[in-house]
Amino acid sequence: MKINNLYKAFEEKIIFNDFSIEIPDGKITFIIGESGCGKTTLLRILAGLDSSFSGQIDSSSSRISCVFQEPRLFPAISVLQNIELVEKGNSLPTNEILKLVELDTEENQYPDSLSGGMKMRLSLARALYYNGDMFLMDEPFSALDENMKARIIPKVLSLLKGKTVIIVSHDMEDVNSYADNIINLSKENPPD
């Protein structure tokens, strides 16, 4: 995937100015950098949620699984229904995905009754069920405790082998353990 001459500003504040970068397809890329350097903005642009920019994005992915910084669950429907709300991709069946994120006993619960970590795992499960060509994940593991992380991350990432995965993270331990490629946005896109 290639991003060429990206320009993006919020009113007076310029986030990207003639920014170009190449992100390898089929690899796990971690984006790191200081707060405000444009990590989340870049993910939103790639997800097609922000179109007020100039520049060129060349990507072969049209089906995108997104894990937002907040879980963004639908409160009126159950855990299972939250997953099955999105179209099923070429993915594991729902019960196996629920097992993978350790929510198999919660399928009939409603999001309001889940803890922060559980909500984030549900958001992850929804992304896995949709199984896009590209996965954009903004701090997907930050709400998980260390034990849960150690159990879940390897299983999730092994499922995503061969896919373009872009993860924003502040956790250098995760970055060093799982990244095929690291982009330090503070360096690649220094503030003007």
């Binding site: 997800a47 639908f74 009126a76 709300l85 409603y110 009754s113 803890s115």
Partner: protein, 263 residues
């Protein structure tokens, strides 16, 4: 047992308050001493019990209820459709908003006279009910659509969730509390306006017509008995309607379960 005691205490309290106000009513009626214009509660309740047993009472009440219910139903359908269009297009909103504001601020009596001249006594109460209810339903539903969670809307966009699923999982649960609140605040008003329209255009076979006749004949006891009927039916109508709606829309009105981060 404890619950029975609680209910008993509450019921006695309500009864005592009711007796207090009935006492005040009786006292005022005794002081004024013009039973033809201001009868006391005993004669009114006696007349009410006589009326309840008549065929005229049942038919008049049913017809009035039917007209108001019809008006409310039309207002809900129109209100939802208009609110959806207004939320989709600012131009439609800018066109619709002034007319609904005018409707909301104009006295009912002005509309009753004009509509009665064109549509007659049977349709006027229905149209007036629609006019009273429509701005309330529209404003609430529009507000509900505008206040949907933009973050969830982004989830729908990213995952290309089809419109039908968006409505049932996202829009309906977000909008239904606004819808119920519009009914709670509008039903009483719509009922009163509908009856007022019946009185003003003396609609055949209606509570309004019975009130008009009582006024025409200087029959204070009948006037008060029909007015008490309007109040009781309004309370029953509001209670039944909202209970029924809450039951029908139960799956969307999920109780707010507190989030437990330490679970």
């Amino acid at each position: 047992m404890k619950n029975f005691k609680k209910i008993g205490i509450k019921a006695s309290k309500v009864l005592l308050i009711a007796l207090f106000w009935l006492g005040i009513w009786e006292l005022v009626s005794l002081i004024l001493n013009i039973p033809m214009l201001f009868p006391g509660p005993i004669s009114v309740l006696k007349r009410l019990f006589e009326l309840i047993l008549t065929k005229e009472f049942i038919i008049n009440s049913l017809m009035s209820l039917l007209r108001v219910f019809g008006g409310i139903f039309i207002a809900i359908i129109l209100g939802v459709i208009l609110a959806a269009f207004c939320a989709m297009s600012k131009i439609v909103h800018d066109i619709i908003y002034p007319i609904l504001t005018v409707i909301k601020s104009t006295p009912v009596a002005s509309f009753v006279i004009v509509i009665w001249l064109f549509l007659g006594d049977q349709k006027t109460p229905i149209i007036i009910t629609v006019m009273m209810m429509l701005p309330i339903v529209w404003a609430n539903i529009y507000q509900g659509i505008k206040n949907v969670d933009k973050n969830l809307l982004e989830v729908c966009t990213v995952y290309k969730i089809p419109f039908k699923k968006r409505v049932s999982a996202f829009y309906a649960p977000s909008i239904i509390p606004y819808f119920i609140s519009s009914l709670l605040s509008g039903i009483g008003l719509a009922w009163k306006a509908g009856i007022a329209a019946e009185v003003l255009c003396s609609t055949d076979v209606s509570i309004g017509d019975a009130i008009f006749d009582a006024k025409y004949d200087f029959n204070g006891v009948d006037l008060f008995a029909w007015t008490v009927t309007v109040i009781i039916l309004s309370l029953v109508f509001e209670l039944v309607f909202t209970k029924l709606l809450k039951k029908l829309l139960k799956k969307y009105i999920k109780s707010e379960g507190g989030s437990n981060e330490n679970k």
